[in-house]
């Protein structure tokens, strides 16, 4: 039973991370799965959300942090909303010059904004604390819940060890529930939206933009709205990550973990299907975590094993594109195209 705490920690960490990825995949599903917008700068919005939330809810600059701005110590919910709003504004700025053009331009511009955000995080120490990042980002209700469980354990010293461990981890259980609730609420909103008249228009744009425009819809405006909405959800994902990890730095948001893996999750799960997006997140994160375990038995160095895992993910993407491009859960109803 000594490993019990380790196992609980791992399960919670796994589920919180997969749930956070589920949020990001829902955001991408609105952009790509429903509207056909090719955003390959998810990492940028993810990071922007995390940093914004940390600036709004986090500690003010102190002696050991190099920054001179931010740290308003507002409650978590303000951080979450702030993250969504800032990401939405940046998406608007990116969408304006690119969404009237071919899909390639949005792709290039989203890579560009992700890279620019990364450079700002690294270089503007007054705002972001540079490569050191933010530490001690407060988790919502931490003191209340952790305090209560500590007090309970203190007054019940003779509990069996496994019950003791379960209770000692009560804050992590709470955060897991929080992530899943946020994921579920976003899922319900997305389902409502996708099946609304608005959702029918954006799916029509994905199928045939010219035909949709011919029906009198302002496709540019709908595409901007979908891009902004997706980016706001990604910002919420970033916020959820920051307040769980409690420490963020520019390397937390590299393109591999921040963008590429989310694409694989959505495509594997089924682009255009919100359930598929969430399923894909858990499956791909499961494979990713599982291979971490497996590579320990291979005769390679740690960096080589890391490369092998990425190669595996890249190969899986190609295999899905070649043989099952619709993913595990394809969207139920396909619209008729005019082609």
């Amino acid at each position: 039973m000594e490993h019990f705490v380790g196992i609980i920690n791992y399960i919670i960490f796994f589920a919180v991370t997969a749930g956070t990825y589920g949020i990001l995949a829902l955001g991408l599903n609105i952009q790509w799965g429903n509207t056909g917008l090719f955003n390959i700068g998810i990492a940028g919005f993810y990071a922007l959300g995390a940093y914004t939330s940390a600036l709004i809810s986090g500690l003010p600059p102190s002696a050991w942090e190099g920054r001179t701005f931010g740290g308003f110590q507002l409650p978590f919910i303000f951080g979450l909303l702030g993250a969504a709003i800032v990401c939405g504004v940046v998406a608007l700025l990116i969408g304006m010059p690119t969404l009237r053009l071919r899909a390639d331009y949005l792709a290039i511009a989203t890579i560009g904004i992700a890279e620019t955000i990364r450079l700002v995080l690294n270089n503007e120490s007054w705002l972001t604390n540079g490569v050191w990042g933010f530490q001690q980002i407060p988790s919502p209700l931490y003191k209340t819940i952790h305090g209560a469980s500590s007090a309970y354990l203190h007054s019940h010293p003779n509990l069996p060890i496994w019950i003791h461990d379960l209770i000692a981890k009560s804050y992590d259980w709470f955060y897991l529930a929080l992530v899943l609730v946020v994921l579920f609420i976003l899922y319900l909103i997305m389902e409502r939206l996708v099946h609304s008249p608005w959702g029918r228009v954006i799916r029509a744009i994905r199928e045939d933009e010219d035909a949709t425009a011919m029906l009198g819809k302002n496709t540019f405006s709908f595409k901007i709205q979908a891009l902004i909405l997706g980016a706001m959800i990604m910002g919420i994902g970033g916020s959820m990550y920051a307040h769980y990890a409690r420490f963020i730095s520019p390397i937390s948001f590299k393109p591999l973990y921040g963008t590429f893996i989310i694409w694989v999750m959505l495509i594997l799960g089924g682009s255009g299907n919100n359930k598929g997006a969430i399923l894909g997140s858990f499956v791909v994160w499961g494979i990713w975590a599982g291979t971490d375990f497996l590579t320990k038995y291979l005769p390679f160095s740690a960096t080589q094993s890391a490369s092998l895992r990425v190669i595996l993910i890249a190969v899986s993407l190609e295999v899905i594109l070649l043989w099952r491009p619709q993913g595990l859960l394809p969207p139920k109803k396909q619209l008729f195209t005019l082609k």
């Binding site: 090719f38 331009y105 960096t303």
Partner: protein
């Protein structure tokens, strides 16, 4: 030194970096116009070329093939042979990737191809990391003396003259190929209208192979030249340049190889000159901002036609 006095030297650096970006950009532009998608693996084709050259050069040195330096340059016979073979091998590798993946996905449309190219990019980069580690590798440890030209206020190394000269020669070669050979004309025809070209009896599959030969060959060259300029290579070298390359291609007019050359040069020079005013770390952001401004003013680019 005052900011103004540094400008001539920064212009030289800009032309060197612009030469490399232009060579990378021609390939991106050709694959865009002929195959119809933005190839995000192009940067990693550059890295692949640079590492194949490194592998061959190491092999040659091990076999005792002499590398007597050419005059003032930092490399000689052995490296030159490795350079040329690496160009050929990169082209072959890229054609194999096309047969294995891109050709099968061509019917799925440009976005699926783009997505597939991102998978290729990540896969290639990690294959290089697997065999060579993410740490830098050195073509040479030699420190080359720069030649000072006080009248112009600049210093330049013999290797850097070689880089600029190679870029000029290759641009002239590509231009002649596109303009005067049958294959070059066929390529331009496919770029203009693929269906029409096919109807007139042009073998589009051969055109595609030649497109990859030129794109991959120039990518390998750009990767190796960046290794000669920086003295070291990493698996991320191409990925780090990709945003600047795309910015150059969009600036010049996506799909137009001449635009890619002009755009690459403008981006290279702007990035270097910007370091006189803002942090060196922001070079790729400078490229990005220039690209966004171009998209707002004239999305078809400097040399692009009206859509």
């Amino acid at each position: 030194m005052t900011t103004l006095a540094r400008i001539p030297q920064l212009l030289v650096y800009g032309i060197i970096s612009g030469s490399i970006l232009s060579l990378g950009g021609i390939g991106v532009s050709l694959t865009y116009s002929i195959l119809g998608f933005s190839n995000f693996a192009h940067g990693d084709f550059m890295a692949l070329g640079a590492y194949i050259a490194l592998g061959l050069f190491t092999l040659f040195t091990g076999l005792g093939i002499p590398n007597t330096r050419f005059g003032p340059l930092s490399f000689g016979f052995g490296f030159t042979v490795a350079f040329i073979l690496a160009i050929a091998l990169t082209a072959i590798a890229v054609i194999l990737i096309d047969r294995l993946l891109f050709r099968r996905l061509r019917r799925s449309g440009p976005i699926i191809l783009m997505m597939s190219s991102i998978g290729v990019a990540l896969g290639l980069r990690n294959i290089l990391q697997f065999f060579w580690s993410p740490q830098p590798h050195y073509y040479t440890q030699m420190i080359q003396r720069a030649v000072s030209l006080p009248a112009l206020g600049i210093r330049i190394k013999p290797d850097e003259v070689f880089i600029i000269a190679t870029a000029i020669v290759l641009v002239v070669l590509v231009h002649s190929f596109m303009r005067y050979t049958k294959m070059g004309k066929a390529m331009r025809a496919v770029a203009d209208n693929a269906t029409l070209a096919q109807v007139t009896g042009i073998n589009t599959d051969r055109v595609i192979i030649w497109t990859w030969v030129i794109a991959a060959g120039l990518a390998a060259t750009a990767g190796i030249l960046s290794g000669i300029e920086n003295k070291f290579i990493t698996p991320e070298l191409g990925w780090q340049m990709l945003l600047s390359i795309f910015a150059g291609v969009v600036l010049g007019g996506i799909g137009n190889p001449y635009g890619a050359i002009l755009g690459g040069m403008v981006i290279g020079i702007s990035e270097e000159v910007s370091t006189a005013f803002i942090s060196t770390g922001y070079k790729p952001a400078v490229a990005f901002v220039i690209m966004i401004i171009m998209l707002l003013v004239k999305p078809t680019g400097l040399l692009g036609r009206k859509n």
